[in-house]
Amino acid sequence: MTDQPPADRALEGGPAGTLEPYEVFRQEKEGGPMIHGGNVLAPDAVLAVHYAREMFGRRNESTRLWVVRRADVHVLDDPDLLDPPLDRSFKKPGGYVMRDKLAAARGKAGTSKPGARAAAHDTTGRRTGGEA
């Protein structure tokens, strides 16, 4: 595992020229969120999944793993976009208590729990459309 590019490992010899990092996300229980666990170096996706299983799944700590080639991850870390310099406090909901209003609205609509959107959001990672 590494937080550095694969070039580091290449200095140690072995078949490192062909290794690349894969990011591993894990789910602790069915329906839970996928949490970034760490990463593995592997020569291809098949072995990356094997190694992810050994690093993040061999002690019954995961019900599901997502293994993603780091090169396939689209990164946004531009501070101009994520942390603009001007005051944004007006975009934050602080001081505005939603709970009672939500409860009243739910009572009116006759729905108990706000889970509909979350349930519709696929957390299995299975490909949808086309063949499974």
Partner: protein
């Protein structure tokens, strides 16, 4: 690893066995357990020096799995024998010649290709053997169902490596071919006929002869080796020497894996 906790779940089933059946079952359990134990210990010799860190963890974990399988089988055996020895005593307190692992597991660790070749041939053979265990002895049938779930991953791992070495360029392929040639010559010894085999078949503890498992193994191997243009193992006569006359590599390994146990005889760990 400590093997001292013996569950008594199987004791009742074991008590119902008559002598010929008990002997035959004990022989089967001992051969299966010794295969997993010796093979697992030899694989553990990669810990710390496998080709890459991730593979080091993977191979070490698989080796631990195999030792765990050996532990479960030795515990069943301890119940069947009921001679005062626990799983630890059976696993560690024998002279090298009393181990009944197949000659395939007698091979030295060798290089990575040697280990992959040995593991590949053994994993698929073990799978064919596990598929031959019937329902005649409940505790073993229950255990085998669990073992097969774990062995699925071992198979995926080792087949992935065979494919990569076979297609990994001239040097990798050359080493794999050489390693397979050595290991394949002794690989069928996993199916060495057991003295108690007729009794095991009568009792339904085996659902088919080991010779039939050997045939199933070859069909399985064909599907993987032929597309890779790799040679299939030769057929051999199954004599008793398939699980006897162990190698110097095994005697070295035996000294390693018994060293702690022998260092303080009778100590509780």
């Amino acid at each position: 690893m400590t093997l001292s906790k013996v569950p008594s779940a199987a004791r009742e089933a074991a008590a119902k066995l008559d002598a010929p059946r008990r002997d035959a079952l004990a022989e089967l359990l001992l051969t299966m357990a010794d295969d997993e134990f010796v093979g697992g210990f030899m694989d553990s010799e990669w810990t710390g020096i496998a080709p890459i860190l991730e593979e080091d963890v993977a191979m070490s974990s698989i080796a631990q799995d195999e030792l765990g399988h050996a532990k479960a089988l030795y515990e069943l055996l301890a119940e069947v024998l009921d001679d005062g020895r626990d799983a630890d005593a059976i696993a560690y307190d024998r002279e090298p010649e009393a181990y009944r692992h197949a000659r395939l597991l007698d091979l030295p660790r060798g290089d990575w290709a040697d280990t992959i070749a040995r593991r590949f041939l053994y994993e698929l053979a073990d799978e064919a053997r596990l598929a031959s265990i019937g329902t005649g002895y409940g505790p073993l049938a229950d255990l085998v169902a669990k073992l097969r779930r774990e062995e699925r991953y071992h198979r995926m791992h080792v087949v992935a490596w065979v494919e990569r070495l076979a297609n990994g360029g001239r040097i990798a392929r050359g080493r794999l071919e050489a390693a397979l040639a050595v290991a394949a010559a002794v690989a069928p010894t996993v199916f060495t006929r057991l003295d108690g085999e007729p009794e095991l078949l009568r009792a339904g503890i085996l659902s088919r002869p080991l010779a039939a498992a050997d045939a199933a193994w070859r069909v399985d191997l064909t599907r993987i080796l032929v597309p890779l243009e790799l040679a299939l193992p030769p057929t051999i006569e199954h004599g008793p020497e398939g699980r006897a006359g162990h190698s110097d590599a095994f005697r070295w390994l035996w000294r390693e894996f018994t060293s702690v146990r022998r260092s303080e005889v009778g100590a509780a760990w």
